[in-house]
């Protein structure tokens, strides 16, 4: 009884352990080659890592079910440093064959394990057409799909030909825009030869005119591909992303790879093993991947002013640490540019900090992932600034323009405009106010940093209404506007011509000419003086004096009495001395004309008169 109990406990322990292990995770999956050829059988396996039952396979609609399911189990247990690890697999194997070309899906299978139902993944299988009949008999063997390259038992010289092994240059696009990513891969195609390895003697082109972004090299896996009527094993040898840096046709030079092929030789020394296994030799072969020309289109015109070379699809996110801080406390604006495209060439947009902010160089963090579709990821930019002056400030939006390839147009992203309220910090408040009481704040001139055109006119505008201009330059009406006033003026002149003549200033003319006439008279008098014509002399002297006075004082000759003259002169504020002198000259000239007088007297009166006229000329009359 005791023993039985012991055994039971042991059995319980073991089963428990089994279940413990099974508890980990039930993994139930289907496996099949991705590509198969029509008519060649392949294996579809379902694997589960625990004991299971009630396996239900899906229906194989597009494939012929040749055999299966065969069940096989395997388990292993290992102790490492006292730690036990064990694994268990249960495999169901089907042998199927593809009936027609195309891509087909085999639905999931179901199984019961650990008391619950589990479903496997479905598999997609591409069924390739068989080799075209032109291909030699060797292709018969090639139809057998395998994850390993097939060995050939044919004549080696025939096998290592261009049809059997070559490298293609595969680009996903040949017409692209500037800065648009191209995926270039060198793909090895081989059929009927065995590629042992590649030497280091690989010559890749320069990729001049491109920015190269190499992809992480995956483990080389072979795939079956139908190309030019034959099924080849293919392997991608090298992949890279290329970003064209200028427009135009850019040529990528051919690349060279050196492969080591295992080929069967006709051995000279024949042994029983040679016959059985065949004998092989390694042969080096240079394979050339053809060059390719990429047509790069220029980016369309109409680039936004802030465009700085971004091509792809991006989004912009921004945040600010705080919108209300005290002076001398830092503010951080975080800008997150997410997307895919030429992320690495994206320039850091600038934040236009207002005056009074001490800005520091932005901190840029890049998290990029390179995949076959291009570089994608996040570029985080942190802008740090310290406000030094209190007040309300607006930080203009940060803009990022890029060319969207999908939409084929420029897109501008913009962060929101931040309004900052900077309060006066406490620590410098006391100090600055104390200082400001004694010091005038430093004056700053308004300085212009940049120049640009002025903004467009935005005043409300209406289409002008067509109005005929009444008067245009050079038209008769225009000249009439000169002629009509002129005619009016002429008419006025004619009508009032009498008054005009009366108004004509004769007195003024006489006034101006007075001295000239008087001097002329004095000259004649002088002539008479030398000849001794006394009467004429006095006559001239008197006339000179009288006409001079008459002209200067605008008195008619008839009113020229001595009293009259004296009175007018007195009115004009002339010295009495001068008035008496005038009186004297006039009376002397009048009197001496008919009285005897000497030459000296004549000389004297001449000088007196000349003097008087000079003096009067200087007076304002």
């Amino acid at each position: 009884m005791k023993l039985r109990q012991y055994i039971f406990t042991l059995a319980l322990c073991i089963t428990h352990c089994v279940f413990c292990m099974a508890d980990d995770e039930v993994d139930f999956r289907a496996n099949a080659p991705k590509q198969v050829v029509v008519g060649s059988p392949f294996q579809l396996t379902y694997t589960i890592n625990t004991q299971a039952r009630d396996f239900r396979a899906p229906e194989f609609v597009d494939f012929d079910h040749l055999a299966g399911p065969y069940t096989s189990q395997s388990s292993s247990t290992s102790f490492v440093n006292g730690h036990r690890t064990s694994s268990f697999t249960l495999t169901y194997t089907f042998t199927l064959v593809g009936m027609k070309e195309g891509t087909f899906t085999i639905g999931p299978a179901t199984i019961k394990a650990n008391g619950s139902q589990h479903t496997s993944n479905g598999v997609r299988i591409t069924v390739l057409p068989p080799d075209e009949p032109v291909a030699s008999s060797q292709s018969q063997q090639q139809q057998r799909p395998s994850s390993r390259p097939q060995q050939s038992y044919e004549n080696p010289d025939n096998n290592v030909s261009r049809e059997n092994i070559f490298i293609r240059t595969v680009v996903n696009k040949t017409r692209v825009h500037e800065q648009e990513a191209i995926l270039l891969s060198y793909k090895l195609y081989f059929a009927g030869v065995d590629v042992a390895q590649f030497t280091n003697n690989t010559k890749l082109p320069e990729f001049a005119g491109f920015l190269k972004q190499e992809l992480d090299q995956e483990e080389i896996q072979t795939e079956l591909e139908h190309y030019n009527g034959r099924n080849y094993q293919t392997a991608t040898l090298y992949r890279t992303l290329l970003y064209p840096q200028h427009s135009g046709d850019i040529k990528i030079d051919p690349a060279q790879f050196e492969a080591v092929l295992r080929v069967q030789t006709r051995a000279q020394v024949r042994s029983i093993f040679d016959d059985f296994f065949g004998s092989y030799a390694n042969v080096q072969k240079m394979l050339t991947a053809p060059g390719v020309t990429i047509h790069v289109e220029e980016l369309p015109t109409g680039k936004p002013s802030d465009y700085n070379g971004g091509v792809g699809t991006f989004s912009l996110n921004s945040s600010i640490s705080s919108q209300e801080v005290k002076t001398n406390e830092a503010i951080t604006i975080r800008l997150e540019i997410k997307g895919s495209g030429n992320m690495k060439l994206l320039k850091t947009p600038a934040v236009d900090w207002p005056e009074g902010f001490e800005a520091y160089d932005p901190k840029v963090t890049n998290k990029f992932k390179t995949s076959t579709s291009g570089v994608s990821g996040t570029k985080t930019i942190e802008y740090l600034a310290i406000p030094r002056a209190a007040g309300q400030y607006a930080i203009p939006p940060v803009t990022l323009s890029y060319f969207d390839i999908q939409e084929g147009k420029y897109v501008r992203l913009s962060s929101p405009e931040y309004t900052l309220n900077i309060l006066r910090g406490t620590e410098d408040a006391d100090a600055s106010t104390v200082v400001q009481q004694f010091n005038q704040p430093t004056k700053e001139d308004i300085t212009q940093f940049g120049t640009d055109i002025r903004y467009i006119s935005v005043v409300p505008w209406q289409m002008p209404v067509v109005t005929k201009q009444m008067v245009a330059f050079g038209t008769p009406l225009f000249y009439m506007l000169y002629v009509i006033p002129l005619l009016i003026a002429i008419v006025l002149f004619i009508v009032f011509r009498k008054q005009i003549r009366e108004n004509a200033d004769i007195n003024r003319v006489r006034y101006k000419k007075a001295n000239k006439i008087a001097q002329k008279r004095l000259k004649t008098a002088k002539a008479y003086l030398t000849t001794g014509a006394k009467e004429h002399f006095y006559e001239e002297i008197e006339r000179a004096a009288r006409s001079y006075l008459s002209d200067r004082l605008s008195i008619a000759m008839a009113d020229m009495s001595k009293d009259n003259i004296a009175e007018i002169l007195r009115k004009k504020n002339i010295d009495n001395e001068l008035i008496s002198e005038v009186d004297k000259v006039l009376s002397t000239a009048e009197f001496a004309r008919y009285a005897p007088s000497s030459d000296t007297q004549m000389q004297q009166i001449f000088e007196q008169t000349a003097n008087l006229i000079d003096k009067l000329e200087n007076q304002k009359l």
Binding site: I453, V459, Q462, M463, L486, I488, F493, F496, N503
Partner: protein, 255 residues
Amino acid sequence: MKHVLYICIAVAACLSSVASAATMEQGNSLYANGEYTQAAEIYAHIIDSAAEQGALTRQMAPVYYNLGNSYFRCQELSQAILAYERCLRLDPRMKDARYNLQFAQTQIIDNIADTRNFFLRTWVTNLRNALSESIWMWMSIGMFSIFLIGAVLFALTRETWLRKTAFYLGLLALVISISAFCNATSLHHRDTLRAEAIITQGIVNAKASPDRSGTELFTMHEGTKVTIRECLGEWCNVQVGNNEGWIKLNCLERI
């Protein structure tokens, strides 16, 4: 029946004016959004429709100004300069346009050295360009009338101060009237001859004779203002600064 027709016409006119006002605003909002190419198209469309109606008056100046700004933003310097020049033709007193024209002219490559231009001559030309033809014309007519009034006053009054004032005022008015007339004539000639033009092609070589094989004399760049002296077929003789030469008509556009 006739009244109905008039109403129809009036309504149509109102609608068309509303539509064009809307397009101006449309252009402005496109410009504000940075879509300068589309904005330029809209402004050009407005100008075309105004030109069809023969309504290229002073009110069109802001449209030309906005067009110029749009072209400037599209980096089409010569078209921008052309639009600013045309804007100033319509409204010489538009300060923003003058400022932007000067700014645009700082961007062009050619530096025109004109030693013939005596400073007084430049001054007179600037004075002439400062006002429009019709303003000069009305100024001339008005000043001529003031001169005549002065002359009549001078002849008919006895009062010395009035005569003196009338005499000097009349003389001044006559001088202004004559110079205003000269300016109006000069502007009228400029606008009818349309001899001034802007180079629209990137680089133009001026030749000594109006044919392809002519000796190349000098090179001009986009945006430079030239004066057309005469035309012969598809060639025209232009003067720029101290130089003159023959270039093709399609390299330039008249203002």
